[in-house]
Structure formats: structure tokens, C-alpha cells
């Protein structure tokens, strides 16, 4: 049995030490900041900080990075409501009613309800994580290399098929990610490949520089291109919604928690996807749907609840299987591996102290964020107004520092710049970036499990279809790809550019 109350209590005891509390607080602050600032999201933020965290203990480091991830979900709503600019893609639906409320002079109430809804859904999602993750990890104990390969294969194909209507572009993006991860030495044999005799390439390309480039550098380039100068002033007064409004939103919070959590277990269902669904559902079940879009408070509560429930849910497959559902969790997975921790069922067995400390810290972090956000909303809103010309170069500077501290090599910085250009082109050409990031991070594990499976089966790929669990995963993967293909072939309408998300 991988769950017991003792484990959870032990986790709380660990998470409540001063060191871990401090790093959780740092993570919450940085996360909110990243969420508030447009132009940098949780994936890029975590990737930049990852090399710098090697100097603190693993548990504290992961606690901080997890806090950045869910903290960004809180912060993203602030700019959405106050200035109608979503700090993160997951806050786009929040803009609809949140900004309407702000225009009616009710920005404070909108910010208040988004913090409360985030807290309720985030915490309920954590309860789900606490009980679901060990349960799934138990199942995963029976997994061998073929099952893992099939699982990751399924994860990647779900990310591709859910990434929008552009299936082919998703596949291309994924193969680019795999390709960049193949550079360097073969993990099993040590043979050099794709290095073209270049010594710098022998150690491979760090996934951190790939991600910093793809998300942060390219985002700045997109912003530089437009001469955007938004100056806007909203007075925030009366930051609390009334009790009646909180009660009114109660149903919305619970529904969005359910939607966010269960969809959030699936790879590819990043918060940017589930918030839209939650908003839509809320509009449909409402007795007064005409209020939506005109400042309905449930229209703020639903997406804000959903994105926090989704971010909690994402940790379930991450901890139980080692499968990230989105780019930010992929970076976190990379962080775990940097510390030599292999996520999956073995993590619960061998490092229960670590897993439960991180899970417990997330409960504490949610309380911290509620406390930080309700009274400090005005402060965060002012930070969001830092003009881009000042912000942009500083973000780039952070990227350079992050990339350089990976191995203290200039080479990594150049690689980051290169992937910044690639990321910019991909955004321009409407290529989804998430599959590429997931593929880069998963590639080493994917490859190792593939080679191990093929060793077991003496080179026959049939092993993925004769073992029942692996076969089920492969069938799901193929079904999702064929479904995507079918939709692509059937619709002759011009392809819709997928909303790019950085979480």
C-alpha cells in the first residue's frame, strides 16, 4: 500500500520545516509574479530557475518549482481582470467576464472571487491528488519497459491530437523535439550520433536551453515585433466579493473543480484547455446565460477554479507514472531527473518522504497564495503595468543567466538563442510548441524503454501489442491519432491556429 495517513502527516511535518516553508513561499511569490507578467509563463520560469536550484536540497527545490507552477495559475487572473491581458493562456476565459466586472468598477470583487475559487478548487484538487496518485502508482508497479513505452507513446499522441486541429504540425513539432534530444550519446551504448564530429554536441543539447528558448526568448521576440504600449488605470477598491456572491459561485467552483481535475489527468489537457471547457459548461448550466460576457461573477469563478484543479491534477500522472501532461510539468519532470529521482511508482516506494513532503507543501502553498493574493492584489496589479520595453530585456537577461548556469558553458546560451528563433518561427507558422517540449524531455526515457523492450522481445515490436496493458495504451494512442487524422482530412476549412499555452 502506497498511501497511509502516517505518510501524509510525515509529509506535513517535513513541509512545515522553516527551510521548506521558506522555499514554498519563494515559489509562491515567483509563481504569482510569473503569472502576472505577460511574456513569461511557468514553463519558462521553471526552466530558468532549474539550474539555479541545484544549490538547495532536492525536496526544497521541487517544492519551490511546484509552487511556481500552481502560483502562476493564481497570478494569471490578475492582469486578465485588471487590464484585459491574460498573464497566461489559461486566463483567457477569465478576461471575458472579469474585465467586464472591472469596467463596472467591480475589479476588486472579481479578483477576490478568482482567488477564493482558485483556493477552493486547488485544495479540492489536492485532495484528489493525495488519494489518486498512490492508487495509480500501485497499478503502475506492474509496469515493465513495454508498458512505459506504450504509456509515453500514448501521452505524446494525446498531446498532439489535443493540441488543436493541426495534427501534422503537432507530429512535426514532436519529431523536432525527439530529434533535438537524440543529439549526443546513446544512453545505453554511449555511441555518438548527430554530432557531426562537433565536440560540443557530444554531451547533447540540454532540454533546459531548448525550453527557455522556445518559450521565453520567442515570446519576447513576438512582443518586440508589435509596438504595444498599454497604459491603463483601474482603481481597485473593495476587494472582497459579498457573501451572497461567494454562495452564488459555490456550484461553479465545485463543477469547475470536477471538470478541471478529471480532464487534467489526461496528457494534453493543460489548464489552457480545461478553463475554456469549464467556462462553457458554466454558461450552459446557468439559469441566466445572458449574463455571461456582461460581468457574470460565475464566469470568473469557473475558469479560475478549473485551472487550479487542473494544475493539481497534473501531478497525479507525473508522480504515479512519470508522465507530464503539459510543458510546465515536463520541465518539472526534468528537474526531478536532474536530482536523480525517477518519478513513477518507485518514487512512492523509495522516496515516500520526498513525495509526501511535496504534496503536503502544496496544501500549505495554496493557503499562502490565498493570503498573498487577497490583500496584495493591488500590488500585483501595479507590477503588471511595468512597461514591456523595460520588462523584455530583463526577461532576456534572466534567460541568459538560466541558460548559462546549466553547465557554465557559452554553448548552452547560443543553443538557447537558436531555439528562440526556432520557437519564434514555430509560433508564426502556427506550430504547437507543447509536443516538442514534451518530446524533448521524454525522449531519453522513451528511448531507454524502447531499447529495453526490444532487448526483451529480441527485436520484435510485437511486444507492445501482446502484453494487455501495453496493448491498451497503444490502442488508445493509435485511436487518438486516427481520430485527429480523420478530423484533419474531413474538414476543409482553413486550419485554426491553436492557442499556444505556456503551462
Amino acid at each position: 500500500v502506497l498511501f497511509s495517513w502516517d505518510f501524509l502527516l510525515m509529509g506535513f511535518a517535513d513541509a512545515l520545516t522553516w527551510t521548506n516553508l521558506f522555499w514554498a513561499l519563494v515559489g509562491c511569490l515567483v509563481g504569482t509574479l510569473i503569472g502576472v507578467l505577460p511574456g513569461i509563463g511557468p514553463s519558462a520560469g521553471i526552466a530558468i530557475l532549474l539550474p539555479l536550484t541545484t544549490m538547495i536540497p532536492p525536496t526544497s527545490g521541487i517544492i519551490m518549482m511546484a509552487a511556481i507552477y500552481y502560483g502562476a495559475m493564481y497570478g494569471g487572473s490578475t492582469t486578465a481582470i485588471v487590464v484585459n491581458i491574460p498573464g497566461e493562456a489559461s486566463s483567457v476565459p477569465t478576461c471575458i467576464d472579469g474585465y467586464e466586472m472591472a469596467k463596472q468598477g467591480r475589479a476588486g470583487a472579481a479578483l477576490g472571487i478568482s482567488a477564493i475559487s482558485s483556493f477552493v478548487a486547488g485544495t479540492l484538487g489536492l485532495v484528489g491528488l493525495t488519494f489518486f496518485a498512490p492508487l495509480l502508482a500501485n497499478v503502475a508497479l506492474a509496469f515493465g519497459p513495454p508498458e512505459y513505452f506504450a504509456l509515453m507513446f500514448m501521452g505524446l499522441s494525446l498531446v498532439i491530437s489535443l493540441s488543436g486541429r493541426a495534427l501534422l504540425k503537432g507530429i512535426l513539432s514532436m519529431s523536432l523535439g525527439l530529434l533535438s534530444a537524440l543529439i549526443g550519446q546513446n544512453p545505453l551504448t554511449g555511441a555518438a550520433r548527430l554530432t557531426f564530429g562537433w565536440v560540443d554536441l557530444m554531451a547533447g543539447i540540454s532540454f533546459i536551453s531548448v525550453i527557455i528558448g522556445l518559450f521565453a526568448v520567442s515570446e519576447i521576440m513576438i512582443n518586440v515585433e508589435e509596438k504595444a504600449a498599454v497604459i491603463y488605470k483601474t482603481k481597485i477598491k473593495g476587494w472582497m466579493p459579498t457573501w451572497r456572491e461567494i454562495r452564488q459561485c459555490f456550484g461553479a467552483m465545485l463543477r469547475s473543480t470536477g471538470i478541471g481535475f478529471f480532464l487534467g489527468l489526461l496528457p494534453g489537457c493543460a489548464p489552457a484547455v480545461t478553463t475554456f471547457i469549464a467556462y462553457d459548461v458554466e454558461k450552459r448550466v446557468s439559469k441566466t446565460p445572458e449574463r455571461f460576457g456582461k460581468g457574470a461573477i460565475e464566469g470568473v469563478a469557473a475558469p479560475e477554479g478549473a485551472n487550479n484543479a487542473t494544475s493539481s491534477a497534473g501531478f497525479v500522472p507525473l508522480f504515479a507514472f512519470g508522465l507530464p501532461t503539459g510543458p510546465a510539468l515536463a520541465v518539472l519532470l526534468g528537474g526531478l531527473m536532474m536530482y536523480g529521482l525517477q518519478p513513477g511508482p518507485m518514487l512512492f516506494q523509495q522516496n515516500p518522504k520526498f513525495v509526501w513532503a511535496v504534496i503536503a507543501s502544496m496544501y500549505i502553498g495554496n493557503v499562502m497564495l490565498l493570503v498573498l493574493n487577497l490583500p496584495l492584489v493591488g500590488f500585483w496589479a501595479r507590477i503588471a503595468l511595468v512597461p514591456f520595453p523595460v520588462l523584455g530585456p530583463i526577461i532576456i537577461l534572466c534567460c541568459v543567466i538560466g541558460a548559462y548556469s546549466i553547465r557554465f558553458l557559452m554553448f548552452d546560451v547560443w543553443v538557447t538563442l537558436l531555439f528562440g528563433v526556432i520557437g519564434y518561427l514555430m509560433r508564426k507558422l502556427a506550430f504547437p510548441i507543447a509536443p516538442m517540449v514534451l518530446a524533448t524531455v521524454l525522449a531519453p526515457m522513451l528511448e531507454t524503454s524502447l531499447q529495453q523492450s526490444l532487448l526483451v522481445s529480441q527485436g520484435s515490436p510485437l511486444i507492445f501489442f501482446t502484453r494487455p496493458i501495453a496493448a491498451a495504451f497503444m490502442a488508445l494512442a493509435l485511436a487518438s491519432i486516427f481520430r485527429g487524422l480523420w478530423i484533419t482530412v474531413r474538414s476543409h476549412a482553413p486550419e485554426v491556429a491553436p492557442a499556444e499555452s505556456d503551462e
Binding site: 512535426l172 530529434l179 537524440l182 508589435e226 520595453p389 557559452m410
Partner: protein, 106 residues
């Protein structure tokens, strides 16, 4: 085997690269802004080793802010100088990261 896999992937990406693409390229001024910013960034990276991280940081941040928004030269000066100082004291002194110091060599 994995080499072949990589090559196969590359081939696949070349082959389906000819899909119909609707591209929204930036206008001329946008393209110039991007090119100049990229150039500044490349210069920044290239000069880190000869000049040292703190100095180049200050120069890069100040010049880039000034380039993006000419009216903000005061902010540019202060932010630039500030970032240089922060890089030196926070990252190099406090966190002891091994950035090239250039002529500031202890």
C-alpha cells in the same frame, strides 16, 4: 538504429514540410525591430566572455530598453546599471555562480 530513427524523422519533417501554410509575417518595421533585437542579443552573448558578465549585462539592458522605446532613456540607464549591479552581487558574489568577469577579475 537510433541514428536511422533520427534520420527518418528528419526526412519525414522535410517531406510534409510542403503543407499549405498561411503565414502572418510581421511588417517591415517589425522585422527590423526583431533583427536588431536579435543582433543585440547575439552581441550580448558574444561579449560576455571578453568583457565580463556584469558590464555586458548593464550595456545590453540599457541599450535594448533605449532601442525599444527611445523616450525611456532615463529608465534605460537606471535599469541597465541596476541589473549589472544585481548580477554582480546577487549571482556572482552571493550565489557564487561562475560567470566570466572579464576585466573585473577579482
Amino acid at each position: 538504429m537510433t541514428l536511422a530513427g533520427g534520420a527518418g524523422l528528419a526526412a519525414k519533417s522535410w517531406r510534409s514540410g510542403g503543407q499549405d501554410l498561411q503565414i502572418k509575417w510581421p511588417d517591415r518595421s517589425g522585422a527590423i525591430r526583431i533583427a536588431v533585437n536579435l543582433l543585440l542579443l547575439a552581441l550580448f552573448i558574444a561579449l560576455i566572455e571578453p568583457l565580463g558578465m556584469p558590464v555586458v549585462t548593464a550595456l545590453y539592458v540599457a541599450v535594448t530598453i533605449w532601442y525599444i522605446d527611445r523616450k525611456r532613456y532615463v529608465a534605460a540607464l537606471f535599469t541597465g546599471a541596476g541589473s549589472g549591479v544585481i548580477v554582480y552581487y546577487l549571482f556572482i558574489r552571493l550565489l557564487e555562480l561562475q560567470f566570466p568577469l572579464g576585466f573585473l577579475q577579482r
